[in-house]
Homo-oligomer: 201 residues x 2
DNA sequence: GTTGTTTTATACCGATAGGTTACTTACTCA
DNA sequence: TGAGTAAGTAACCTATCGGTATAAAACAAC
């Protein structure tokens, strides 16, 4: 009888099986997010259609909507994943001791990893007229976060006013680099450019 | 008789009247281009629909197509007009004598005129995956032109290698500034930022 | 095997995209 | 005035947009 086999559980409590009921999904959520991210990154939000997404991910529309709710929500999730993927780079700005060397390391890494695909966050900023508040706030917050971290590092070496201006300059270099990437400017040239910039520090 | 009144013309040559035949247009081509430009500038190519364009310009679809051929062609023309409108700024880089002061003047003007709408060229770069060759080449050419002019000015004060890197840095600031504009960063901050940058020169 | 649950495939929805057709209107020319 | 021409209007075209309804398929529990 069932009662015997579950007698170790309190009344009303059921076993929670790892395997869920119903037909199993035949996709990995993280993979799908990754693929969607690549697509949005390449084409932007407006120009990426549901057909593009279903084609790239292998999922059909219904499954996409079951999993993510809407194109917009999927975009927000993808944008988030993109920002997460940049965390390693950002962490260069949290190394002890704080100071301008962290900023130099960060900028050199950004130049080194610059891509011909540009940068999803930069793209989103320019598309922001189409996006809902959530995505707008996301990019706003991401950039402010970066700017703040750079400011914190530069505050060690400069007075507040100068640190602020320099932080804006250094943080906004991600936009320059993203655009140069899209323009297929050689990575070597971008690195030389950054070399010149960090003379300021 | 006609012959008498046109006797001063050679045979087979007709008077070319300023007024053209048929119903006159009730729009100014330049105005329409301007309005289209503003719209593309605000929303980007992909997100600007024909309805948006007809609404903003007052022209109906047929007239738009008669005049400009297609959405893509209109965009190319608008992008061109945008670049033309930036010529005054660019001319700061052709003042005699050539030298870094020209670049400083240019950058300060770019900062001064930075807009919350960003920059149509920068937006187009990030949308370039959607655009046909013509628009791509246009932005490519525009940027190379700017970069070349800045290089020419900096070559007066620096050796070739340094001038090249500095030129890339200074020219790509238009992308940073455009993005900061879209992020609603205060113009005053942008100007302070540029103040810091030109210390390099 | 039956029942319940979840995912999948397919077909469909109204709305809108970019673009065109057919016709009317407004002008020049003679 | 009437013929010729260019521009404007509105209805229409097909394709695709983001999003859904329905039902078959694949699993767990029993």
């Amino acid at each position: 009888m069932r009662k015997k086999s579950r007698s170790f559980l309190p009344n009303g409590v059921k076993l929670c099986y790892i395997k869920h009921m119903g037909r199993p999904k035949n996709f990995e959520r993280e993979d799908v997010i990754q693929q969607a991210m690549e697509l949005f990154w390449l084409k932007g939000y407006a120009a990426t259609s549901l057909s593009d997404l279903t084609e790239a991910t292998g999922l059909n529309k219904k499954s996409l909507y079951n999993e993510f709710g809407s194109k917009e929500e999927l975009f927000n999730i993808a944008l988030n994943a993109y920002n997460q993927s940049k965390l390693r780079q950002i962490e260069l700005l949290t190394e002890e001791p704080f100071g301008k060397q962290n900023v130099i390391n960060y900028l050199e890494d950004v130049a080194q990893t610059s891509s011909k695909k540009g940068c999803l966050m930069t793209l989103s900023i320019h598309e922001s007229e189409l996006l809902e508040k959530e995505a707008k706030l996301d990019v706003q917050k991401s950039f402010k976060g970066l700017q703040g971290l750079i400011f914190k590092n530069l505050s060690v070496d400069y007075d507040k006013k100068k640190a602020k201006s320099l932080a804006l300059l250094m943080s906004s270099m991600i936009f320059s680099i993203a655009s140069l990437g899209k323009l297929k400017v050689d990575k070597k040239e971008i690195k030389s450019m950054i070399k010149e910039l960090i003379i300021l520090l």
